[in-house]
């Protein structure tokens, strides 16, 4: 390997470092107008009237757009097409787009928006899980299952009742994971150009140009072949740019109305209203354990506070139950989940999508079980690991699992055995593990086409251009494509151009989400590059008059393996192949393997393969103040193989810091119906002064499914951090904080309770009764069955 596994520079590194990268907001077109959006000031209200006359009369205003002009709804999931570009008749959260204006400059657009008068008739806003469960005459979405209950899901795999009866210890506890947001440095921006030829181009900071393409076509009622979406380099995404957004469609329509290009650049506050961040989740986790430390079964209930629209929420709801089964062997498992509509910006996918929340509950329960059984928590986990090449209780296929080595590595690196329950009062260590997808098994809309496509074009100069619909959101996906093609063709990255995220030019890749990009685009790129090698090898073999199988490609040349003095350079090889075969180009694509799960709802959770992480957090708690100082984090991540270990390290460290932010301070809070802190100053996210050194260990056990053995690294390493923090707090001062963020007053409150002889715990105290739907019964693989449901449950609710 000349390229794979080397800490090479990113292909776009220099431009990024010196400020030359063209983000969407950097685009300036001749005669370009600027758009601003008027947003709802009410959390829930009927729109009585919108008066735009004062805005129309303002000099410099070129187009005004209202909701009625775009009556067709959109949404990322086919089952949740519930968003209008601009609100029609009803607003469902403070910050929801109501009207849009394009004007000669941003100041004029802002003034025009301010002159639009909207009359609202307030409705009672739903701002909490508790309120969302109450019966209502004014449901936020008419298509909800029941009242404001958007969606319930329910599965039973095996007999959990028997599992708990058999257990020597049953831990039944409540947990809460607060909502938080992505906070990408780049605020969303889009530029739309409507061509005289009746074509539309949209540049946007998006992780999913293909889905934006589809939404634009649908809402604007244009055939997709007249629309081009270009995903600009993203200044961070983390899931916050994975939905099609109102501003993207509004700016396109404004450009069509005004006949001039239009730009919109959202403010930080508006980004908070776009949201699609972490769902607040209240959960109940019941874990059965035998006295020798074997898990007998798990029952898990979740309630998600979803915000006002569907977004990815149905998938998020399934994800709060999907991956509890992939780290530790569970003989029986039951899951019930419900998502509620509330009058807040919609929640959606944030790094780890729906899985960090249940991971918090599960990993704390394991810590509690370990203590009660007198078993070291690392050992308890090791005892229960899912085996490689196996099916989980819910029919997920585990191929490689490096979790054992991950745990062993962090135990050793952190000095766990000398620290756990042995550090002086006030200092502690906590351990947790996790698992994440390497790409979702199914696309978001049903189709049987590949999830990722790559095209290669060969120039006579020896330049190879890679075309792929993927989007680099800073994680380095453009570079990964270049490394992989360079490795297969034996050339240097400087002989490669990468063209990505342009629906006119690049074959479809579904987007930068679900940690799918390296695996799927990587495999597609390998296929395209190997097909090119076939052509090049044949042409060079003919030139050198040797058999094809003696051709070796390396360092920009193609050699005779038996006589390396006989070779041609890569450009010459391309010329020979072009002369022999005509214009050169190859394609490659990737489709995930079929899932073993055949039951309804079994489409969320399957992945080509899974990554695993284990982390130890060491911290100090100031017992007088409750303030936590994180001292160090050790994390081992089973990445299969690092295509570029330096980029992998960056992803791990970024995940750890984001996880620490969620664990310690980040909070989406609402007051008077509005977001309490929609700014970088008042929404508290850690600075470089608040985080700790991170020691990262990459565990490399190449996976047969991944490109060169690679698995994901972008999301999984976040997951163990919040529970590791909670477990470390317990080790430090002996109180359980069963919710995040773990703020100082919660620790003091638990310490006070403990000193008064009460339960030394802070966390939710009750779980509301929810009418979950009847469960789908599926037999675990080891009890027989074929992955199908044993029943066709009677659905009593509407909307199913």
């Amino acid at each position: 390997m000349n390229i794979i596994g080397k800490p090479l520079r990113k292909v776009d590194a220099v431009s990024k470092c010196i400020g030359r990268t063209m983000f969407a907001d950097d685009i300036v077109l001749p005669q370009m107008l600027y758009a601003k959006i008027l947003r709802s000031t009410r959390p829930y209200a009927r729109i009585r009237n919108i008066d735009t006359s004062a805005a129309e009369s303002l000099e410099g205003v070129k187009a005004i757009l209202l909701g009625r002009e775009l009556p067709i709804t959109f949404g990322i999931l086919p089952v949740s097409q519930d968003e209008h570009t601009l609100a029609i008749d009803v607003v469902r959260y403070a910050g929801e787009p109501v009207a849009a204006v394009a004007a000669v400059d941003e100041e004029t657009a802002e003034e025009a928006v301010r002159r639009i008068k909207v009359e609202y008739e307030d409705l009672p806003p739903i701002m909490s899980i508790e309120d969302g469960l109450k019966p209502t005459d004014t449901p936020i979405q008419a298509y909800a299952e029941d009242g404001n209950i958007h969606k319930t899901v329910s599965f039973t795999f095996g007999d959990t009742d028997a599992a708990f009866e058999k257990a020597d210890l049953v831990l039944d506890g409540l947990f809460f994971y607060q909502g938080n947001t992505h906070l990408p440095l780049e605020q969303h921006a889009s530029v739309a150009l409507y061509h005289p030829e009746d074509r539309l181009t949209l540049w946007s900071s998006t992780q999913t140009p293909h889905y934006v393409h589809r939404a634009l076509a649908r809402v604007l009622e244009m055939t997709p072949n007249r629309i081009q979406v270009i995903a600009c380099p993203n200044g961070g995404g983390f899931g916050g740019k994975s939905d099609p957004f109102s501003h993207e469609i509004a700016v396109a329509k404004l450009a069509m109305k005004a006949g001039k290009p239009v730009k919109i650049a959202l403010t930080r506050e508006e980004v908070f209203y776009c949201h699609r961040g972490r769902h607040p989740v209240l959960m109940r986790a019941k874990l059965g354990v035998s006295k020798d430390g074997n898990f007998t079964g798990l029952s898990f209930q979740t309630i998600l506070d979803g915000g006002a629209y569907g977004s990815y929420g149905v998938a998020s709801t399934y994800y709060t139950g999907a991956l509890q089964t992939t780290t530790y062997h569970l003989p029986a498992y039951k899951f019930e989940g419900a998502r509620l509509f509330t009058n807040k910006p919609p929640c959606g996918p944030k790094r780890g999508h729906g899985t960090p929340q249940p991971r918090l509950g599960l990993e704390i329960q394991i810590d509690k079980a370990a203590e009660l059984l007198g078993i070291d928590p690392a050992d308890l986990r090791l005892r229960n690991l899912v085996p490689a090449d196996s099916l989980t209780v819910n029919w997920l296929t585990i191929r490689t699992i490096g979790l054992r080595r991950c745990i062993e590595k962090i135990v050793e690196a952190s000095g766990w055995k000398d620290k756990f329950r042995k550090l002086p009062y006030g200092r502690g260590v906590g351990l947790a593990c996790s698992c994440y997808l390497t790409g979702a098994g199914l696309p978001i809309y049903w189709n049987n086409m590949p999830q990722s496509g790559v095209q290669l074009k060969f120039d006579r100069s020896g330049l190879v251009t890679i075309f792929c619909g993927s989007t680099d959101i800073g994680q380095g996906s453009d570079s990964i494509l270049a490394y992989i093609v360079a490795e297969v063709l034996g050339i240097d990255c400087s002989s490669i151009r990468v063209v990505t995220g342009d629906t006119d030019l690049t074959p479809v890749d579904l987007g930068s989400y679900s940690s799918r990009v390296t695996l799927m685009t990587g495999n597609a790129a390998i296929q395209a590059a190997e097909r090119a090698r076939d052509l090049l090898d044949e042409a060079v073999a003919a030139e050198l008059k040797i058999p094809r199988n003696r051709i070796v490609a390396a360092e920009g040349r193609m050699f005779d393996a038996e006589d390396p003095s006989r070779s041609v350079d890569f450009a010459k090889a391309v010329q020979l192949a072009e002369a022999r075969f005509g214009t050169l180009g190859t394609t490659g694509c990737y489709s995930p393997p079929k899932s073993a799960a055949k039951f309804k709802g079994g489409g969320v959770g399957p992945s080509p393969t899974y990554s695993f992480s284990a982390a130890v957090v060491q911290l100090a708690v100031d017992r007088e103040t409750g303030i936590i100082k994180i001292e160090k984090t050790w994390i081992a991540h089973d990445i299969g193989r690092a295509i570029n270990p330096l980029l992998a390290l960056g992803q791990v460290e970024g995940s750890v810091y984001m996880g620490l932010g969620e664990a310690l301070m980040e909070e989406h809070e609402f007051r008077l119906g509005v977001h309490k802190t929609p700014s970088m100053l008042d929404y508290k996210s850690p600075t470089s002064m608040d985080i700790c050194p991170v020691e990262t260990i990459l565990v490399e056990e190449p996976d047969p499914i991944g490109p060169f053995g690679a698995k994901e690294v972008g999301q999984g390493p976040l997951l163990p951090i919040p529970p590791a923090v909670c477990n470390a707090v317990y080790d430090a001062v002996g109180v359980r904080i069963d919710e995040i963020p773990v703020t100082p007053e919660k620790i003091l409150s638990a310490l006070k309770a403990k000193s008064q002889g009460k339960d030394g715990r802070y966390g939710p105290s009750s779980f509301p009764s929810v009418e979950y739907r009847d469960p789908v019964f599926v037999m675990p693989p080891w009890e027989g069955g074929d992955g199908r449901a044993m029943n066709e449950p009677e659905y009593t609710r509407k909307g199913t």
Partner: protein, 331 residues
């Protein structure tokens, strides 16, 4: 992005001319030095001056004169960066340097000034928001509205004093020079602030801070502690500045001032806390008694970061730690 509204920028030749402009323009004019408070607030329409009078370029407002033995005079244009690393301050008035160091972030400290921080606007969740956000709650008493959302029955504004340097100046009993078209006056730092979120300064709008006199420090001990969520950027949600004068034996407290900020609309001197120290040595019991007295003297409200009852209990801890730091400096 958020855009600045239109305004006229005036660049006076000296402080006197600045005072003349202020007199001529009336309350529609505001001063700017570093701009780290004013510009974002203008973008959010919390402040809407028609005229902004720049002071930053005035070298006459930037000096450090005098001596610690006789008293030091600081120009209000000194940047926070200059204050935090000034050798005389670090050695003799460490609380001034420490407070300056604790403010915002390194880039903002190169712009923010002493005068700006002393006059920094009071802060509140319901006020430090964009125009559109504040429109959602029908605005608040401090700007454009008639309800204080912190205490809806209240007729005053409860926005929080958020300056880190003011408590230090209160504890030192610094004097502040104010210049207007009508002449100059000098007030004690304690007279500079009102416990009212709106009229939080007794400095009149037509007055300019031209100098800050630090009294002679001969052997007096100072300390400063700040509470904020993160290790950078954040405004104080509590700060404590201590000044102690010792008797000849260097053990007994002859006089003390303990100033507390970030709690109410003005920084204040806690007399019960100071009284608990006078005539005593700084034993753990004495320190604890002063800390309790300070807590009982403090009533934070739910209008800034973190839980307000927790913040109240932290007053005791922070005063104790500030006194422990001072005690350490005595020896």
């Amino acid at each position: 992005m958020l855009r600045l509204p239109e305004f006229t920028y005036r660049r006076p030749q000296n402080a006197r001319e600045a005072a003349t402009i202020l007199a001529g323009e009336g309350p529609a004019a505001m001063l700017v030095a570093g701009g780290t408070d004013l510009w974002p607030k203008m973008k959010r329409r919390q402040m809407e001056p028609r005229v902004v009078v720049g002071l930053r370029h005035l070298a006459e407002l930037r000096g450090v004169t005098g001596s610690p033995g006789a008293g030091l005079t600081l120009g209000p244009n000194l940047t926070l960066r200059e204050l935090e690393r000034h050798p005389l301050l670090l050695e003799k008035y460490p609380s001034v340097a420490e407070a300056a160091r604790s403010i915002s972030s390194p880039p903002l400290k190169t712009m923010g000034t002493l005068g700006g921080n002393l006059c920094v606007d009071t802060r509140c969740f319901y006020y430090d928001q964009t125009h559109e956000w504040r429109q959602s709650i029908h605005f608040c008493l401090k700007k454009d509205g008639d309800t204080c959302w912190v205490a809806p029955g209240s007729r005053r504004c409860w926005a929080v004093s958020s300056t880190d340097l003011a408590p230090v100046m209160l504890a030192l009993n610094a004097r502040i020079h104010l210049l207007s078209k009508d002449g100059e006056r000098t007030i004690e730092a304690g007279q500079m602030y009102n416990n009212d979120g709106i009229a939080y300064l007794s400095k009149r709008p037509n007055e300019i801070v031209t100098a800050v006199d630090l009294p002679a420090i001969n052997g007096d001990v100072t300390s400063f502690r700040k509470l904020r969520r993160r290790g950078s950027i954040d405004f104080p949600i509590l700060n404590v500045a201590v000044w102690l004068r010792l008797t000849r034996d260097r053990r007994t407290i002859e006089a003390a001032r303990i100033a507390i900020g970030g709690i109410t609309s003005s920084p204040f001197l806690s007399l019960p806390a100071a009284n608990a120290l006078v005539g005593c040595e700084l034993t753990p019991d004495v320190i604890a008694a002063a800390a309790v007295a300070a807590r009982l003297d403090s009533r934070p409200l739910d209008n800034t970061d973190l839980d307000f009852s927790w913040r109240r209990s932290m007053v005791e801890v922070w005063v104790r730690r500030a006194l422990e730091q001072a005690s350490h400096r005595m020896s």
